[in-house]
């Protein structure tokens, strides 16, 4: 929202604060100022000048004009405007004036020295009229009336979301007056509302959707350009001047935050205006030229023939003001915020009106705006006449109950004492009504423009007082609360441990997006239709929520392979799966994915074994069990990871077809399963007091028989005396027959209560050998 500094100054008596300082004050006490734009700085130097004489310059359209400028004496200028003629009063810009990006210099044009220039409204930034130089009706030397240097203060709309009143200059001026301690002027004279019978009838079937509809009818209207001051003011407010009637509606809206609309009375059918829901199939061509299909959820303004406006959003083309308009209906209405917002969202049409209405405007404001309209229209359309009295339909609403404000409570909320007199004066400067309810408790009445949504609780008054005293005046203080040990978040602490351990082992943490596309989903074996889908994705390849971290990790592998021979990375994040039956929300599971990739591995499957070790470090005693591969896994390099009886994840190599060169091994762990499997307590095992004995055994087995399986068989046969069993090496090749390998283990055995004799050790060894031979294994002893 853009505010004209001059307009605010006009409303605040004796305001001396400069725009830049005001920007700071408004930001600290009311709403965020995004910036200040100085406009019309050149207007301080521009003055009215009478053209004394005009001589044509041969061979050009230009003329040599002598002008009496009053302020700068008599000057000679070259002018190309078609309306430049002797006797006229126009605007003179002296040499040396900056006009936009350029500086007007004294220069020779067509052999004539031009000392300054005569300017059009567009050149002066007053309006968009570039047809000719300005036609003024003031004495030479005087400034252009109502057109002084100004500054546009831009306020962040987001910070006005809760303040319907700040969508108009009068509301902002009230803030400025309260902040600077000046008196606020009211631009409205309520006595200008005419008495008498209205000449249009208003029908509102549902006052919830349209709490109030007020209108006046005028005749003898002249549609033309607005006076310069109004065009310039609208420009400073960021609005485009169009014609006097439309400009009047826009100016009133910018002043009072009350959107207005003018209908051409002669284009309305009948004399009843209805604010009713649209009928199925109704459509309207709006002022922007677009056609809109309306639905019963949309409120329309209708005449006898059909919709003439979308309520609170935009007017219709058919009843728009035109050059031939002679009678107008001036609408000033109040519409339900939610309804306007829904319609505006559905039609994808946000207008200055809808933006204001969706903030819950004050129904009492409709007639204030009309009272001001009467005065304004008399100025901008001389000769205009009211027809009949005020048409006004509304459902009376009880005034909101006053708020009790205990002063001690206020002090405790803010953390600082404030005197009762100061609280009263702050609230009164913002036009709250204040009286003393009981000693130490104020009774505060909320003004109607703050009561629609903004202020209803005593907490809301804390803000009113706090922001005006300035939060900087509150000393920081630690709270007086009981010391309590915070509840532990075991899962999160554990995840931090996992992160630290992986980083220390050489893995770099990545964060990937939660979105994937259908193609990536299919590549990882998911049917896109079975995943959680985004209704309004940012792009079609980001329309699904990731059911796995792996598509992201795969992308990391492909992209980083361009820059690195080998690399290690990991991610911790949520997998998102469709909700389980009976659950509200999708199933969101913390997962860990670790990846080690290399163009050239130092030894076969080095990356896989490195990740196996990482898994063992995270989960001491974890077992890896080969399983059927998934479609994205290497066909014979895939396993699950078991820990304390729970399958917690998978260890595999990405299918080589997915990695351009080299290999990428992945460990994918369900952190919730891991957390479930994690033993709660560790318990110390006493260190053996008696020596143990060790011996080696070599077992001949099929090439693809799992070493882990043989180890388990040996361990089972060794039974209770087994202290440890350790893989030593494996070998295939002569003298072993083809298809066979020899696997060597070192077994350590011991007794709990003494040293085993060599006979006892021999017996254990013999038992193992016998057992293995009975199972069909050959042992190399």
């Amino acid at each position: 929202m853009k505010f004209s500094y001059n307009q605010i100054r006009d409303l605040v008596e004796g305001l001396e604060t400069a725009p830049e300082a005001l920007k700071g004050l408004i930001t600290m006490k009311t709403a965020e100022c995004e910036g200040i734009e100085q406009i019309g700085e050149h207007l301080a130097r521009v003055c009215a000048a009478r053209v004394v004489s005009v001589e044509p310059i041969a061979g050009t359209h230009n003329v040599k004009a002598s002008v009496e400028t009053g302020r700068y004496g008599e000057r000679t200028v070259v002018c190309g405007a078609p309306n430049c003629r002797a006797g006229m009063v126009t605007a003179y810009v002296p040499a040396g004036t900056r006009l936009g990006a350029a500086t007007i210099d004294k220069r020779t044009v067509n052999g004539v020295e031009s000392d300054g220039m005569l300017a059009s409204g567009a050149e002066l930034g007053l309006n968009r009229d570039a047809e000719g130089v300005l036609e003024l009706d003031v004495e030479p030397g005087s400034p252009i009336p109502g057109c002084e240097p100004d500054a546009t203060i831009e306020i962040d709309n987001k910070s006005l979301t809760h303040r319907p009143d700040l969508w108009g200059h009068h509301g902002m001026a009230r803030e400025v007056a309260a902040i600077t301690g000046n008196r606020l002027k009211d631009p409205v004279n309520p006595r200008r509302i005419p008495a008498g019978e209205a000449v249009v009838k208003i029908e509102i079937p549902d006052f919830t959707l349209c709490p109030r509809y007020s209108a006046l009818v005028f005749e003898n209207v002249t549609v033309k350009a607005s006076p310069l001051w109004l065009q310039y003011r609208l420009t400073a407010m960021g609005l485009n001047p169009i014609n006097n009637i439309v400009d009047a509606t826009n100016y009133l809206m910018a002043m009072l935050a009350q959107p207005m609309h003018a209908f051409d009375r002669d284009k309305l059918t009948g004399d009843t205006i209805r604010a009713r829901p649209a009928r199925p199939g109704e459509r309207i061509q709006a002022l922007n030229g677009e056609w809109y299909e309306l639905a019963p959820a949309d409120l329309v303004i209708a005449d006898g023939a059909g919709p003439v406006a979308v309520a609170g959003v935009i007017g219709g083309m058919d009843s728009a003001i035109s050059g031939s308009t002679a009678r107008i209906v001036f609408e000033s209405a109040n519409f339900q915020a939610a309804g306007v917002r829904r319609t505006s969202a559905r039609l994808k049409l946000r207008t200055d009106a809808s933006i204001r209405f969706e903030k819950s405007q004050d129904p009492a404001n409709t007639i204030r705006a009309l009272a001001m309209a009467v005065e304004l229209l008399e100025q901008v359309s001389p000769g205009i006449r009211l027809v009949g009295g005020l048409a006004d339909a509304y459902r009376p609403k009880p005034a909101p109950a006053p708020i009790s404000l205990p002063l001690g409570w206020l002090d405790r909320k803010l953390g600082r004492h404030i005197e009762e007199a100061e609280v009263t004066s702050i609230l009164e400067s913002l036009e709250f009504g204040v009286s003393r309810q009981t000693p130490g408790v104020l009774s505060v009445t909320v003004p109607s423009w703050r009561a629609t949504k903004d202020v209803s609780l005593k907490d809301d008054l804390v803000e009113e007082v706090g922001r005006i005293i300035g939060y900087g005046s509150i000393p920081p203080a630690p709270p007086m609360v009981a010391a309590r040990v915070p509840a532990a978040n075991r899962e999160r602490a554990f995840q931090h441990e996992v992160r630290a351990m992986l980083a220390a082992r050489g893995y770099t943490e990545v964060y990937n997006y939660s979105f994937i596309g259908g193609e990536a989903a299919r590549r990882f074996g998911y049917e896109p239709g079975a995943l959680v889908e985004v209704a309004n994705p940012i792009a079609s390849d980001q329309s699904l929520l990731r059911p796995s971290l792996l598509p992201g990790i795969w992308k990391n592998v492909v992209e980083n392979a361009r820059n690195f021979e080998s690399f290690r990375l990991f991610e911790i994040g949520l997998e998102i799966h469709p909700a389980n039956a009976g659950a509200d929300l999708p199933r969101q599971v913390s997962h860990l994915a670790v990846c080690s990739a290399a163009r050239q591995e130092a030894s076969p499957a080095a990356a896989l074994f490195e990740l196996k070790r990482a898994a063992e470090c995270l989960m001491p005693g974890a077992q890896v069990r080969p399983v059927e591969p998934k479609c994205y896994e290497h066909p014979v390099r895939a396993a699950v990871v078991d820990w304390h009886g729970e399958t917690v994840g998978r260890l595999f190599e990405l299918h080589p077809s997915m990695v351009e060169s080299g290999r990428a091994a992945v460990l994918d762990i369900d952190l919730e399963a891991m957390e479930r499997a994690r033993p709660a307590m560790k318990r110390y095992q006493p260190i053996r007091r008696y020596p143990s004995s060790a011996f080696d055994l070599s077992v001949v087995a099929e090439l693809r028989e799992l070493v882990g399986g043989i180890e388990q068989k040996l361990a089972r046969l060794a039974g209770e005396p087994l202290e440890a069993i350790e893989f030593v090496r494996q070998y295939s090749g002569p003298p072993l027959p083809a298809g066979k390998k020899s696997v060597s283990f070192r077994l350590t055995v011991a007794a709990a209560d003494g040293t085993l004799s060599s006979e006892e050790v021999g017996a254990i060894r013999g038992r193992i050998i016998d057992g293995m031979q009975q199972s069909g294994y050959e042992l190399r002893i």
Partner: protein
């Protein structure tokens, strides 16, 4: 007479020991002098012909010479050992400027680093760390935070909706709701996490970023307390005393609501491009918890009150490390991530 013999023998032998160039030569000297058939043995054999008195005297000389020579031999031998060891070790010269082996160091994501620091700080001040889901209900993300349907504040956050009607949380604030329901008053909690806004991505905008929500509910919680916590937090993050200011800001779930700015760390408040010449950088929204929000979560606002804040972790990480492109954070490029 016999003394001279010993003296001569001893000095000659010492010369030979000193002259020996190897352990073998030294051994030859030992055999010649101290060996079973060596010179000292020969002398001791001749002692039989001496008187008892002389025998004792010569025996003493003999022992003296023997011990002296043995010590000289040992000392010389030790010299050879030292030299041999030195030679062997010298052959083991390595170039320590060669690269280290083993996996090079990995690293944590910059947001993880900042997040952990802030978690530790708040835990030390009695706050519990809570987690919440990334897919949320519309109720928790909006309604329970005093943002009913058709409230214009819903525009402040472009929401990713799911086909199921749920949404990707637009802020970590729904964890406030979960926290109030789970912990009950009094409570102190923070909730870091990933949030989503349906926004076009460029160097300074992301659809996925990180926030840290904080909330304290107790009997008497004031704006002054809020300022205290925020100052402590920011001074800890930036490792220096930071100047903060509160100004009005509108968030439906707090009343009063604030925007907290810190004095620009780049220019110290003088004005620079980072702070758009204002000297201040907008950092976090905060405020006292709106009574309706407490009430909707079953907490009586007449009895309890509190503050809440939302810290942009992504933004903080960018400030701390001077990261100028937000897309790097989720780009997965190890050339970037290795640096932390």
């Amino acid at each position: 007479m016999i003394e001279q013999t010993f003296e001569r023998l001893e000095s000659r032998s010492r010369e030979r020991i000193a002259a020996a160039m190897s352990r073998e030569e030294l051994e030859a000297v030992r055999v010649d002098v101290l060996g079973r058939k060596g010179e000292l043995a020969r002398i001791s054999k001749e002692m039989g012909s001496l008187t008892a008195e002389e025998r004792a005297r010569v025996g003493k000389l003999l022992n003296g010479a023997k011990q002296g020579l043995e010590a000289a031999l040992e000392a010389r031998k030790a010299e050879f050992d030292r030299a041999a060891l030195a030679a062997r070790l010298d052959a083991e010269w390595v170039d320590l400027t060669l690269p280290a082996t083993g996996a090079p160091r990995g690293s944590l994501h910059p947001i993880t680093i900042i997040q952990s620091e802030i978690e530790d700080l708040f835990v030390s001040m009695g706050f519990t760390v809570l987690d919440g889901p990334e897919v949320e209900t519309e109720y928790n993300n909006f309604d329970a935070l005093n943002i009913p349907p058709d409230h214009p504040a819903r525009d402040m956050q472009d929401t990713f909706w799911l086909k199921s009607g749920q949404l990707l949380r637009t802020h970590t604030s729904p964890v406030q709701v979960r926290g109030m329901q789970k912990l009950g008053p009094p409570l102190r909690m923070i909730a870091p996490g990933r949030v989503f806004r349906n926004e076009e991505v460029d160097a300074s905008h992301e659809h996925t970023f990180y926030q840290l929500e904080g909330m304290m509910v107790d009997r008497e919680v004031s704006v002054g307390n809020l300022i205290y916590f925020m100052k402590t937090l920011l001074s800890s993050i930036f490792r220096k005393d930071v100047t903060v200011r509160l100004r009005p800001g509108y968030f439906p779930f707090v009343e009063p609501g604030f925007e907290l700015d810190i004095e620009c760390l780049i220019c110290g408040g003088a004005g620079c491009p980072v702070c758009k010449q204002s000297g201040w950088v907008e950092l976090l929204p905060c405020g006292l918890v709106q009574p309706n929000v407490l009430r909707m979560s079953g907490i009586d606002p007449e009895e309890w009150n509190g503050f809440a804040f939302g810290l942009g972790l992504t933004r903080l990480a960018m400030m701390r490390y001077a990261i100028d492109d937000i897309r790097l954070l989720q780009g997965g490029d190890l050339r970037f991530l290795h640096q932390f």
